[in-house]
Structures are given as C-alpha cells and as structure tokens.
C-alpha cells in the first residue's frame, strides 16, 4: 500500500475552519472551532480574509481530514467553488468539506455538485456537526 492510499483513521480528526473572502464576521466560525475542540478534535483556525489558495495550502500542510468553510456575506458559490478548485489542483479532492453560515437551501444542490458534502446553517447543532464528521471522515470516493 502506498502512502497515498493508507488509511490512518484511528488517529485524531483534524479540521480546518476557514473564512474565505472579505467577510469579517467570525464569531460563528470560532463557536464551531471551540465546539469541535470540545468534541475531541484538533481544529486549525486560520482567521478571516483567506484566499482560496491560502485555505488549500493550509489544508495541505496541516493534513486535515475536514474543511469547514464559513460564509455570511452571500459570496459562497464563487468562493467555495474556487476553494474546491484549489484543493483539486493539489490532489486533495478526497477531503470532507462542510459549509456553514448564511447559505440558502436552493444553493446547497449547486454546492454539492462542486464537492461540498454538507451544509450546516445557522441554528445547527454543533454536536450534529461533530457526529456527521465522525461518520463521514476518511477517504471520500
């Protein structure tokens, strides 16, 4: 088995919580970061004003299992799509990708097409999010 194929899923779950674009409201992202920490995960939080390249590079260096993308400004379609493109360029399209923030239901199908696996809108339970991660983490087909 090559190192690309090996499954190291007994290890700690590492999550990247990122805010792409110019949206500066990060309270929600920080709440999620702390909640996932309380669920026993390691959460790399990179702050606000991240470009899609910065997010993909961080995900690569930190070897995360999950990326949580937060968007409250309505720019989620273009931003999340660009993040997915940057991940694909780095050979990382097997990660679990979760969207959060203000994302209308009708956009979720479009997002799913570009590879966003789930969306947790405002009022979502962080425990549900953690459970979803635990069930779906590992190499995505």
């Amino acid at each position: 088995m090559t190192w690309e194929e090996s499954d190291m899923s007994e290890r700690m779950i590492r999550v990247l919580v990122a805010k792409p674009g110019l949206d500066g409201h990060d309270r929600g992202a920080k709440v999620v970061a702390r909640a996932l920490r309380d669920e026993g995960m390691e959460v790399v939080y990179t702050g606000i004003r991240q470009t899609p390249q910065m997010i993909a590079d961080a995900a690569l260096q930190e070897d995360v299992d999950v990326i949580g993308l937060s968007s409250l400004s309505g720019a989620h379609m273009s931003l999340f799509t660009r993040v997915m493109e940057e991940l694909k360029k780095r050979g990382m399209d097997d990660l679990l990708v979760i969207g959060g923030g203000i994302i209308p239901d009708e956009d979720q199908e479009e997002l799913a097409k570009v590879g966003v696996n789930a969306v947790f809108g405002p009022g979502s339970s962080t425990q549900d999010m953690a459970e979803y991660i635990r069930q779906h983490v590992g190499r995505q087909a």
């Binding site: 702390r34 390691e42 939080y45 070897d63």
Partner: protein, 346 residues
Amino acid sequence: MISGLEEGVRAGNLRAVARALTLVETGGRDAEDLVADLRPAARRGHLIGVTGAPGAGKSSLISKLAKEYRARGKTVGIIAVDPTSPFSGGAVLGDRIRMQELASDPEVFVRSMGSRGFAGGLAAAVEDAAVVLKAAGKDIVLLETVGVGQGELDVAGKVQTTVVVLTPGMGDEIQSIKAGIMEVADIYVVNKADLSGADAVARSLHSLVDQPGTGWERPIVLTSSVDRSGLGLLADACDAHLEFLRTSREADLAELDRVQKSIVSLAERKLNNDLGSVVSPHRLRMLATNVRAGTMEPREAAQEMIRLLVAAYNSASQEESEAREGTRDLPERAGLSNGMAVSQAK
C-alpha cells in the same frame, strides 16, 4: 511499512511531508521506522526553539524571523504547538493566524500541533516532526511552545538553540520566573521593545548572560514589530550559536549528556510500559492486598513484579530464537516486541 513516504519527504513533496508529520504524531512502528530512515538526511539545518509566556508575541516574532531568514535565502519550516484540552483531548490551533505574511511563500511550511498526550512525550513527537522537516530540506526549523512546565523544558533539551522571549513589564518578575526556562535559554529576546520598560528587562538579564558549563555568553536581543532591525540581530545571534555548537568542545559534551539523558529516559519509559503490560491489574491488586495485610514486604512485592517481567522477557526471547530457527511462529506479544531478546546460545 508505508512505501514511498520516505522518498516523498526527501524530494520535498508537500503532501508526503504533511502525511509524514501526521504519521509521527500518531506514533507506532511505521513512524519509528520512518524517522530512523530519515535521520541521516536530517543531519543538517538548524532547529531553533522559541519559548516564553503566553502573550509574549512568539507567533508574530517567529513569523518575522522566518521572513528574515527567507530574505537570506534560507528555507523555513515552522512547528507551532498549542495546548490540548485535558478534558476533551481536542485543541484549537490558532497560531497560523499570526503568520499570514508567510502564506504565499512556497518555501515556508507551517504545521500546527496540539500538545496532546503523546506516548513518548511532547518533546519526542516534536523532535520527530523536526527530523521530517529537516530531511525535506528545510534549512531552518522554528518551533514555538509555551514556556511553562517540565514538558517544555524537555523540548528545550531537543532543540539546538533555545530562544526565550520576554516582554517589558516583567522587570521585577524576571527573578521569580521559573528558574528552569531562564537557565536553558541560549538567547534572550526582549520583545515589544517599543514599549516602556524594555531597557529595564534587558538590564535585569545582564546578570544571567553567562551560560554555566559551556562558555557561551547569551545575547540579549531587543525586537519590535515597529523596528525590524531586531530581527536581523536575532538571526545573527541564532547563526552564531549554531557555529558555537559546531566548534565548542563544551557544547559537544553538553550535547552528549543530553543524548545520554534522553536514551536513559527512553529505557525507563519502556521498562515502565512493559511492567504495566506484564503485571495484570488482578495480580497487582493481590500483591497490594498482601502488603497491606502484612504478609509481604513492599520490597518483596516489587521484586515479584520484576521477577514476572524478567520471566516474560526470557520467554519472549526464547520464542524469538525458536522463530529464527524455524521451529515456531513468532506470536504478537503486547508490549514486549523486538529488541529486548537476549541472544541465546544455540
């Protein structure tokens, strides 16, 4: 054995480096083998530990020091350690936030680590991570930890150069800061030197510049994000210390002492683990009951535990030599794997 990972790391493949770092964090046989295989390629570069109280500005300082080294044509790896929650085992790793200026530089690799409950201790895990980054070609590896506790002192024993970061306002407190971390420092930095009180802190450090037993005089460097010249001096001080380590006989002996302490500590840890595997909780309970009832001396109980351990080692080594002779399949024996077999006369 996970194939291709060693080659990937040495080629500087970013995904391989990231996966290797995860592997050494997770630990286990494959991780130990990988580190052993990478060690020859890691006998280069400079591992610099940056430590100090929370709020001293370590992350920003490291970011600026990395930029300084980049301007000097060096490649940089950064390991940033944050505390793991003792309750949940999770962590928020937020040091990258203060290193944004490095984000677009492909020659800088930043990795965040939780302090976790590493089986071999934080220091061992961090040392292994540094081996990976050095083997991948990084000239400078900067390690950030919070400077309190024995764990962090152990980390200081693993790096080549320890930088301790202080801030103005600590003037009177210098003397009461845990002696340990001030003593392991190779370089003192007074950060946020644009604030008042910086000179007072620098002055109170003057009595501490002589490093006992090595002949090294600790530089005191004032740095500030306002005035960038401090960073050049800090890089110079680090380079000077590396040169000192290479040429000084006392430093060489001090390093040999550290390696010695480290392997003793590893052996102690292994004995401890094996004792725990070999003496069952039930057996231990019985021994404790006997000692409390007065039918056994504490020393006898301890001796009994050691007897069980030795018997287990002998039995394991017997099985290994039988396996080598082909007379028996080698079973998995928890806690008593490889390396402890004493060679038996055939």
